[in-house]
Every structure is written in structure tokens, then in C-alpha cells.
């Protein structure tokens, strides 16, 4: 007989093993889905996960796609570790893109080394301003940050719509909803000729290193950890809760804002209505799949990025509906949450009694 027993303490080994298990189960379930849809499962999986990154260009695209996911997820992990549920990274990304795009448009006909740093800084500030709204409302008015940050996503998209349709639209663009193209000085430099991977990846890597240092080497990191386990304990220990809430939201907002900068000054080069294919939401999956650990988040962002690329390749070469990419993302999260059960419970085999 098998009995399910609660663990005294969550198992550390299983804590890092379940994401791998979730990915493995997703592959199996994905294979089954492909089989039911009438495709050869192994061939489909090959087109999904191997073909897209089989060449230099594909690998560069993988990094390009993983960069914003990683950056946002790192920022979110500050919030999630300390029990602050910032669901609105997509809005902070959009607002960061708006502010930095606005600055880039000011310089549209100018060149100069000083333009790019200002544009990047503007994006980070934009993200911070936008993240401060749910943070301040939470600390001073006790509102629910999940609702506020989520609803602000839609507000930010409407602001972007308004700007690119109206005041910021390209005067030579027949009123189509897009701005002018930024000048070359406002664009992040490409790392290799002919590939789209740009200097924004260094922002993501810097965020990884800094967050690791903060999480594991600083008093703030310790405070966040304690607050994450128990808010009451944090209060009892005398931590200034309000200050920390605002700080983690600002960090998170800055990261999302920088991700927005990376998109518009990297591959896109202008503002239009669709600066992000919901990176801010997908990054939530990335953060949890990476166990809120900086190194874990790097791997998680690569895994999730490949579901985007794979969906395209699978459709081009096998006519598999592209939306299966989203099914894969959903399955990864589902299996992760499901296998988290193993963290707190274990199976115990006991002999049957007569």
C-alpha cells in the first residue's frame, strides 16, 4: 500500500528537481498531443526544440528572445521572494518602452554617444514610475497589488495606443499607428554582423549577477527571504516592511522597463502598438520555473524562449498550429505547480496488513 505523508520540511533536492521534471513531463505530454493531432511525435519535438537553434542565427534568436524574459523574471523574483505579487510586468515594460521611446523620438534626427544611455535610463525610470503605483497603493492604502498591477497593464497599452495613433505617429506615415524610426544612436549595438542579438543581453546578465549578490550576500536579501516566509516574523524582527515593498517593486519595474527598452531600441527600432508579445506575463512562468534563483531563471528563460521559436518552425515545416507554443508554456507551468506537491508530501510504501 502507498500512503501519502506530509514532509516535515520541504525537500531541497526536490525543490530544484521539480522544474526539470515539469519540463520532462511537458515533453511527454507534448509528444502525446502531437500524436493525437496526427503528427509524428519525435519529428515534431525535433522541429520544436532542436531545429530552431541548430544554426548560429537560430541560437542568436534564442538569446534575443530569452533576454527580455530573463530580465523581467529577475526583477519579478525580487517581488515574489518577498511576498509581493507583481503581475503587471507587462505594463511596466510597456510604460518603460513609452518613456524611453519618447526620449528616443526627441533625438530622432540627431546622432551622439550620449543618446543611448539617456534612452536606456529613461526606460528604467519609466518602469519604476509605473511599478511604484501598485507599491504605493499597497503600502499606504492596503490595496491588493495583484489587481492594481494587472489592471495597469491594460492602461499602459491604451496609453501606448493613444500615443502611436495620435501625437507620436510618424508625420510621413499616412497616419498608420507607428512612430518614426529611431536614429542609429538610439539603437542598442548589435553584437555580430547579420545577427539580431544586441547589447541588451549584457543588461540581463548584469541583472543576474546583481540579483544573486543581493539575494544571498546582503541584509536586504535576508529581509526579503524572511518576509517571504512569514510577514509576521518580519514585522516582529522590526523590518521596515513598507520601504522594502516599494524597493522591490521599483527594482522589478526597472527590470521590466529595461526589457521594453531592449525591444524597441534593439530589434524593433520604433514604437508601435505591439512592442511585446506578452513577455511580462510569460516571465512569470520563467520566474517560477527558475525557482526565483538567478541561475535557474537563466535556464528557464532559455527553455521558455525555445517554445516560441519552436512553434514557428513546427508550423513552417510541419504545419502544426503555431498556438501549440502557448500550450507548451501552459503545460510547463501546470506540471511545475502539480509536481510542487512532491515538495510538501511524499509517498511512503508500507506493507499491507491483513
Amino acid at each position: 500500500m502507498i500512503k501519502i505523508v506530509k514532509r516535515d520540511q520541504p525537500s531541497k533536492a526536490i525543490f530544484f528537481f521539480t522544474p526539470v521534471l515539469a519540463i520532462f513531463l511537458t515533453l511527454i505530454a507534448g509528444g502525446i498531443i502531437f500524436y493525437i493531432l496526427g503528427f509524428k511525435p519525435f519529428e515534431a519535438l525535433k522541429f520544436f526544440f532542436i531545429v530552431p537553434i541548430a544554426d548560429k542565427y537560430g541560437f542568436s534568436e534564442l538569446l534575443l528572445k530569452a533576454t527580455p524574459l530573463c530580465l523581467i523574471a529577475i526583477g519579478l523574483s525580487f517581488c515574489f521572494k518577498s511576498n509581493n505579487w507583481n503581475i503587471g510586468a507587462e505594463g511596466q515594460l510597456t510604460f518603460g518602452a513609452i518613456v524611453s521611446g519618447g526620449v528616443a523620438l526627441l533625438f530622432y534626427d540627431q546622432e551622439g554617444f550620449y543618446i543611448l544611455p539617456i534612452v536606456i535610463l529613461a526606460g528604467a525610470i519609466g518602469g519604476m514610475i509605473y511599478a511604484s503605483i501598485p507599491a504605493i497603493l499597497k503600502t499606504y492604502f492596503n490595496t491588493n497589488e495583484i489587481l492594481v498591477s494587472l489592471m495597469l497593464v491594460y492602461v499602459s497599452k491604451l496609453i501606448l495606443d493613444y500615443l502611436v495613433v495620435g501625437p507620436w505617429s510618424n508625420p510621413e506615415g499616412f497616419n498608420f499607428p507607428e512612430t518614426r524610426q529611431f536614429s542609429d544612436s538610439a539603437r542598442l549595438p548589435l553584437l555580430f554582423e547579420g545577427l539580431r542579438i544586441h547589447a541588451g543581453i549584457f543588461l540581463a546578465l548584469a541583472a543576474v549577477v546583481i540579483s544573486w549578490f543581493v539575494f544571498y550576500k546582503t541584509y536586504l536579501g535576508f529581509q526579503m527571504k524572511v518576509s517571504g516566509f512569514s510577514l509576521k516574523t518580519a514585522k516582529y524582527a522590526g523590518y521596515k516592511g513598507k520601504k522594502m515593498i516599494i524597493l522591490v517593486f521599483l527594482i522589478s519595474g526597472a527590470c521590466a522597463g529595461l526589457a521594453g527598452v531592449g525591444e524597441i531600441t534593439g530589434p524593433i527600432g520604433q514604437l508601435h502598438r505591439e512592442v511585446s508579445p506578452d513577455y511580462g506575463f510569460t516571465a512569470i512562468i520563467v520566474a517560477f520555473l527558475g525557482r526565483l534563483h538567478p541561475v535557474g531563471i537563466i535556464f528557464a528563460s532559455l527553455v521558455v524562449a525555445i517554445t516560441y521559436l519552436g512553434a514557428e518552425t513546427a508550423q513552417i515545416f510541419m504545419q502544426i498550429p503555431k498556438y501549440t507554443g502557448q500550450v507548451f508554456q501552459g503545460m510547463i507551468l501546470f506540471f511545475l505547480l502539480a509536481s510542487d506537491y512532491l515538495l510538501f508530501f511524499k509517498f511512503k510504501f508500507i506493507g499491507t496488513k491483513k
Binding site: 501625437p167 507607428e178 539580431r196 505591439e274 512592442v275 513552417i316
Partner: protein, 356 residues
């Protein structure tokens, strides 16, 4: 001997012909990039109908659906250009810059961008349909069928394409019924069934008894069916979604153009151009007319359709005045394509302002 020569000549001609046909059918591969799902029963659905026509003509095709207009579009285009496709149709405005960028890197691949204006490289062509001609027909029907004299119009984005449609529709409705007013609700989306249905509801609540739309889902005609008002199908024949409400639909018929262009690549006659086809060239098609329409109206519509096709009637024939009463097009003149392409003012009879 003579006979033999003729026979061998004929047979070699036949052989040559079959070889060419085989070569044509095998060689050219066309790809299509879609903004939405192929099952949207609107914009993307009709492009996919066009793609199937290309398949039926004997060419191999590939498509990628749901490609966002973000940084992803460029990758999809490059992948298609890299994997042996000879001609790539990009079917949404937002693909304009990525299309031109990738076209530069693949000079041997032809690119066809729908609804855009940039042709930066010799291998980029643009194409669009004169949907406003269809809206002249819809306006005529709406102006005749309305009892409240309030006509609702769900619009997507304030760009010339949409403003032109509203104007063409309103002018035609005024011609048969000078008392009508066109009320606009801007949905700020091309495809969002929830938002579109809400917009239609708002218009019906304001007394509109005919609803026109410039968004792609079937939500509006379904809302009209529920409320017992008339509506028109957009992009595809939407009659089956709302048999009582839908009086007719304006269909986007891309098939003939797509087949033409893919064949041109096969024959080596493809060249860059800007195509803007209407009812006359069959790119804009009016679906069957509903039996609720009186027979004299049906006859009128049929005649108007023929006149638009032959060029005898132009949707924008003066005198046309803007909302403030300024003359836009003088009597006896018609608006030229330059004016149509940049149209950003409402004509008299449209209520409200263009969002800025």
C-alpha cells in the same frame, strides 16, 4: 517522312509544355504570414482562402498564423525566405518594416506586403483592395433600410483606410436618404470579439438600427441578430452567423491576385508594383443579397455594383463637403488616389471627431 516530322514536332512541343508545367508546379513555393488565426472568419481567414487558391493552381504553399507585429515578425520572414520560398505574402500593415528589411537580405525572394506603402527594394510589391467601393454598396443598403435614420459603425483605428470607408459609406447612405447620421464607435482593435460586441451594443442603445463594421470578428453581426437590427458581414460572407441580421457582406477576394503573382514568379515576369484593386478586378466581392431587401433595392444594388466595376460610378464623386461644410471635392470631380490614400477628415453627416 513529312508526317513523322510533324508528329515529332508536335510531340516535342507537348513534352516541352508538360515539362514547363511540371517545372512551374514544382519550383515556386509561396509563403503567407498571418496576423490572426486562420479560423477568425474575417481578415486572416480570407487570406487563407486565397492561399488555398494558390495550392489549387498547383503550387506549394506554407503559412504561419498568429505572427505578432513585434520583433518576431522579422524572424519568421527570414526563416521563410531561408527555407526555399520564392514569394512571401505578408498580410498585415505592421509587417511593413520587417518585410522591407528582410527583402534587402534576400534579393531573389519576392515579397508582397498587404496594405502598406513602403517598397524600398525592387523585390517588394504592395497590394490592397478598394474596400471603400464595397462600402458604397453597404451605405446604399443601410440608407434605404434604416427606419431610425441612425446608422452605427464600429471602426478599428483612425487611419485613412478606415476613415475612407466611413466616408464612402456615409456618402452613399446620404444619397438615398439625406436625413441619416452615422455614429462611430472606435474599438481600437482589429479583432476582439468582446470589445466589438460591446461597441455594437452601445450603438444599438443609441438608436442605430443598421450596424456596419470595420473590424474582423463575427461578434457584431451576432449582437445585431440578438437585438433584431441589420448588419453587414466583413471580409467573409458572415450570413451563416446571423442569417436574419446580415443583409450582405463585402468579401475580400485575394485568390485571383495571389495566383496571378505566384504565376508571375514562375514565368519570370514578376515585377514590383503597387496594386489597388476593387470590385471591377474582383478583389472586392459583394455576397448574395438578403431576401428582406425589397426587390427594387436589390436591382439598384446590382446596377450600382456593375457601375462601380465599370468605373461609371466613383465612390467619391463631388460635391463632397467635410463636417464643417468646406468643399473637399468639387461638383463633377472625383477624388484621386492620392487624396483617398491620405484621407483623414470626415465628410458631412458623420457624427463626432476623429480621435487624435
Amino acid at each position: 517522312m513529312h508526317k513523322f516530322l510533324i508528329r515529332s514536332f508536335v510531340s516535342s512541343l507537348v513534352l516541352l509544355f508538360t515539362l514547363t508545367v511540371a517545372a512551374v508546379a514544382k519550383d515556386v513555393k509561396a509563403a503567407f504570414v498571418y496576423i490572426g488565426p486562420t479560423g477568425d472568419h474575417g481578415w486572416t481567414y480570407q487570406h487563407d482562402v486565397g492561399r488555398k487558391a494558390v495550392e489549387d493552381a498547383g503550387f506549394e504553399t506554407t503559412y504561419v498564423e498568429g505572427v505578432p507585429e513585434s520583433a518576431d515578425a522579422e524572424r519568421v520572414l527570414r526563416q521563410l525566405a531561408n527555407s526555399g520560398h520564392d514569394i512571401i505574402f505578408t498580410t498585415s500593415f505592421g509587417y511593413m518594416n520587417p518585410t522591407n528589411k528582410v527583402a534587402k537580405e534576400f534579393p531573389n525572394v519576392k515579397f508582397e506586403h498587404a496594405t502598406g506603402y513602403k517598397r524600398e527594394h525592387p523585390n517588394v510589391a504592395t497590394y490592397a483592395a478598394r474596400f471603400y467601393e464595397g462600402r458604397t454598396i453597404l451605405g446604399t443598403i443601410a440608407g434605404t433600410m434604416t427606419k431610425s435614420n441612425v446608422i452605427g459603425y464600429v471602426a478599428s483605428f483612425p487611419i485613412p483606410e478606415v476613415i475612407r470607408g466611413i466616408n464612402s459609406f456615409t456618402l452613399a447612405a446620404q444619397k438615398v436618404n439625406p436625413n441619416i447620421k452615422t455614429k462611430i464607435v472606435w474599438a481600437f482593435t482589429w479583432y476582439d470579439p468582446g470589445k466589438e460586441a460591446e461597441a455594437a451594443k452601445a450603438l444599438i442603445d443609441q438608436g442605430a438600427d443598421v450596424i456596419a463594421q470595420h473590424t474582423d470578428s463575427t461578434a457584431i453581426v451576432q449582437m445585431a441578430e440578438k437585438a433584431g437590427v441589420y448588419a453587414f458581414g466583413q471580409a467573409s460572407d458572415m450570413d451563416k452567423f446571423a442569417p436574419k441580421a446580415v443583409l450582405t457582406s463585402v468579401e475580400n477576394n485575394w485568390g485571383p491576385y495571389y495566383v496571378d503573382r505566384v504565376k508571375a514568379v514562375a514565368n519570370g515576369t514578376w515585377s514590383q508594383k503597387d496594386t489597388w484593386h476593387g470590385i471591377g478586378d474582383g478583389m472586392v466581392v459583394i455576397s448574395g443579397l438578403d431576401s428582406q431587401m425589397p426587390s427594387d433595392l436589390q436591382a439598384k444594388v446590382k446596377k450600382l455594383q456593375a457601375d462601380l466595376a465599370s468605373g461609371k460610378v466613383h465612390s467619391f464623386t463631388g460635391p463632397i463637403y467635410d463636417q464643417k461644410g468646406n468643399l473637399m471635392v468639387a461638383e463633377g470631380k472625383t477624388a484621386d488616389d492620392g487624396m483617398l490614400a491620405g484621407m483623414m477628415t470626415y465628410v458631412k453627416g458623420v457624427e463626432g471627431d476623429i480621435p487624435k
